[in-house]
């Protein structure tokens, strides 16, 4: 049992990290053409216009919540005079709402993907693998957010978060994770699967967030010989 715990919570995260970083570098180097949202909005627009913003915006809040919850130690929020109960309430309400939106959005999108023939035909093998993992991670995470505060009094900031930060100190705190409730463990495993799939699936389009659009001039000019890459943009609008 001990060896399994070490393998899962002490070794696996690093394997995932290597796959995630190396896979992303490989994708960027060899397959920039493949990086796309691969939108199916042309085939079906009504359900997508409800489900997609719900899912994506919910997910953005969820990611923000994870960053705060995992990276900010309890000592810091205490010094900011944010009481434990306030923090918990915030995590429950905002996190719960965001998680609920993401799960509902994903449910709409999956329903659409199964029911609409054209969208189903546009679904690839990597999608078939990705969607169950994504759904599993979201549902387990939402359950951990909503169910745990009601049933137990587990403080993930003293368990999961400690384990997560210890990974980056190259000294994984395996017991901190091994003693977490099953729901948290399942969510973490799904999460690791998601990070493994990330560079090799459509998830990679998250890296394509077009932040440069906010500061770019409207019209882009480029020289014929400039080739690919950001250095190709030669000058702005006349």
């Amino acid at each position: 049992m001990k060896h399994l715990q070490i393998a899962v919570w002490g070794v696996l995260p690093y394997i995932v990290l290597v796959l995630f970083v190396a896979g992303t570098a490989w994708r960027y180097r060899y397959d920039r053409f493949g990086v796309t949202t691969r939108s199916s909005q042309m085939h079906e627009s009504r359900l997508l216009s409800i489900g997609s913003p719900m899912f994506h915006v919910g997910l953005l809040f969820v990611i923000g919540g994870h960053i705060v919850g995992l990276l900010v130690p309890e000592a810091v929020t205490e010094r900011l005079h944010a009481s434990e109960s306030l923090y918990r309430l915030n995590a429950l309400v905002v996190g719960g709402a965001a998680g609920l939106a993401a799960v509902t959005g994903l449910a709409i999108l999956l329903w659409r993907r199964v029911r609409e023939g054209a969208v189903r035909a546009a679904t690839r093998r990597d999608d078939r693998l990705l969607y169950p993992v994504l759904a599993g991670a979201l549902v387990a995470g939402l359950a951990a957010t909503l169910v745990e505060p009601l049933t137990g009094d587990y403080d993930y900031r003293l368990g999961v978060s400690v384990w997560f930060r210890s990974l980056f100190e190259l000294d994984p705190n395996v017991p901190a994770m091994a003693h977490a409730p099953l729901l948290f463990q399942a969510h973490t495993l799904f999460g690791m699967a998601l990070f493994t799939l990330w560079p090799f699936s459509r998830l990679v389009h998250a890296f394509a967030a077009p932040l440069g659009y906010a500061v770019r001039p409207y019209i882009v000019y480029r020289s014929r010989g400039a080739g690919a890459g950001p250095a190709g943009i030669v000058r702005d609008r006349p």
């Binding site: 042309m42 216009s49 014929r224």
Partner: protein, 559 residues
């Protein structure tokens, strides 16, 4: 009034653009351009529904259906408080709608592509009935009913209920609609407009779309496109297509690999009516933004005319070469048929200038519907007086053409049609040996010499006068080349290799002349193999020099 470059004053910067003019009088609606374009560029899965070139019948809905209704599709630019903003919204709204684009046409707005189950023709079991090839959707492979296509209302097919979907007819007004439908019809071939102020480029969040500095062609960088689909909405002509297989935007490339080699686009080359013209236009990029934001839409056509420069003006030529436009491009601009039809004769007009994108594919409006209408009433359709009168009185076609080409202003359309009518009347007198009537030319604001030149360009339309296309250059290297002479002349450069053909022998053909230079790696291999024997040429007798590599000199040999 429109901003205009002061005559005789040199512009600060000059840019060159390859533009197209189509003479609608000659279009017979044969769709050869569409078919050859499709075979060249979109004969792939994911782009089955995409026609970079399409020909639509006017009046008609067009392709995709009703694309000209910008209240619905939100393409192009609009003035908001004097500022030019994409009609679909600026940066903030683009970010807000990143996850679902509310103005994206569905596949059904184009049409659902289909094939036929040909297998059934030969594989059906023996029976009393002839087997058929039932239609199958190319999207999901299921049996489908064919209810629309890329030119479903071709030749006014489908009747009045389809024509009611023409957004321009709605503008022209109910009272004239029916009369128009009965009397007139013409074809409108459309490609990407390669605009001076492209709203598709402005809409692209990834910065994947760009306008080429050298020739103004608007392209999509397939490696940077991320499939946000905003360009499809941004283009008011709906000429950017979403490849639903690769998840990338694709569009007309103006056949740039052909243009770079000095050859016309596939649609032009294969045009049966020889109605397309390709040539260089020099323009002042510093005037474009101002011209695109004139308050009155009817001023947009003259404002765009004001951006174009006269290549015969020495000050312009000097400024062009100072801006990096090569000499042969300036030369080509002087001979450009496009410049002649747009600026000199003023018979070509832009398509929908009210979208404020400054389109660069212009059209000579069709006079034939008016001639036909005249002839139908028993009048002489070639007589100048009759024609001039008809242009004025048949206000229906003029107002429809004005909605298409001049944001509703009938005056430039009438003027262009009058010049075409004057050309007809003048040339008939010439051909019949009648005495010239200088009044005909003067009434259209031209002279006999100008009319005959225009006749040569429009009616005879010789290949090398229709297409004046200089070969490609690279804006970044022009300056260096001018300073250092030929960049290929350096020691070891490709210019110093043994001649590929013997002196006095056949020169290289056009295609290999434009072939890309060998990669450095390939050249290193070629260098290493120089002096060696090609075994394919060896007759097997004796041991020719170079059959074996020279033994490297060893210290022992030196002793």
């Amino acid at each position: 009034m429109a901003p205009r470059a002061p005559r005789g004053r040199a512009p600060r910067r000059v840019m060159a653009q390859i533009a197209m003019v189509m003479n609608l009088d000659k279009c017979i609606g044969c769709h050869t351009c569409s078919v050859t374009c499709k075979q060249t560029w979109t004969n792939r899965s994911g782009t089955e529904y995409a026609w970079f070139n399409n020909v639509e019948t006017r009046p008609g809905q067009g392709y995709p259906r009703g694309y000209e209704d910008q209240d619905r599709w939100k393409g192009g630019w609009e003035l908001r408080g004097g500022r030019l903003v994409p009609r679909a919204g600026g940066r903030v709204r683009r970010f807000a709608r990143l996850f679902a684009n509310p103005e994206l046409p569905r596949l059904d707005d184009y049409y659902e592509p289909w094939t036929y189950d040909y297998e059934n023709l030969i594989g059906a079991p023996l029976g009393d009935d002839l087997p058929t090839a039932p239609p199958r959707s190319l999207i999901d492979g299921e049996p489908t009913a064919i209810t629309w296509g890329p030119n479903w209302d071709d030749d006014l097919g489908g009747g009045p209920e389809h024509l009611a979907g023409d957004p321009l007819l709605r503008k022209v007004g109910d009272d004239v609609r029916l009369e128009y439908e009965q009397a007139f019809m013409f074809y409108l071939p459309r490609i990407c407009e390669h605009c001076l102020n492209p709203s598709c480029v402005a809409s692209c969040p990834s910065g994947a779309m760009y306008k080429r500095i050298e020739d103004g062609i608007v392209l999509v960088d397939q490696d940077r496109c991320r499939g946000w689909r905003m360009c499809v909405t941004g283009c008011p002509y709906k000429k950017v297509y979403f490849n639903h297989q690769t998840g990338k935007a694709e569009k007309c490339t103006l056949c740039y690999p052909r243009l770079e080699a000095g050859e016309p686009t596939v649609c032009s080359e294969t045009c049966v009516g020889r109605l397309r013209y390709l040539g260089v236009i020099l323009y002042d990029p510093d005037l474009v933004g101002e011209a695109a934001s004139v308050p009155d839409e009817k001023d947009l056509y003259p404002a765009q005319l004001g951006c174009f420069l006269d290549p015969h003006d020495p000050a312009v030529a000097e400024a062009a070469e100072a801006s990096g436009v090569p000499h042969d491009w300036v030369e080509a601009a002087r001979r450009s048929p496009v410049h002649a039809l747009i600026s000199r004769y003023r018979v070509a007009l832009p398509l929908h200038p009210e979208y404020r994108t400054m389109p660069m594919v212009w059209y000579v409006p069709p006079l034939s519907p008016i001639v036909d209408a005249l002839a139908g009433t028993g009048h002489d359709g070639e007589d100048a007086g009759n024609l001039f009168g008809a242009i004025e009185s048949l206000r229906i076609p003029v107002s429809y053409l004005a909605e298409l080409f001049t944001a509703g202003d009938p005056e430039p359309v009438t003027a262009a049609l009058r010049r075409l009518a004057a050309m007809r009347a003048h040339m008939r007198r010439v051909n019949l040996g009648e005495a010239e009537d200088p009044e005909i030319a003067r009434s259209a604001g031209m002279d006999a010499h100008g009319i005959e030149e225009m006749y040569r360009l429009l009616a005879l339309a010789k290949y090398d006068e229709r297409y004046v296309i200089p070969t490609a250059y690279d804006a970044r290297t022009v300056e260096h080349a001018a300073l250092e002479g030929c960049s290929l002349d350096g020691a070891g450069g490709p210019g110093m290799l043994e001649p590929a053909f013997p002196p006095g022998g056949a020169p290289p053909d056009g295609e290999s002349f434009h072939a890309p230079l060998a990669r450095p790696g390939a050249r290193a291999v070629a260098d290493r193999l120089r002096g060696r024997v090609n075994l394919l040429n060896w007759n097997g007798r004796g041991r020719p020099a170079g059959l074996f590599p020279a033994t490297p000199a060893t210290p022992e040999d030196e002793r």
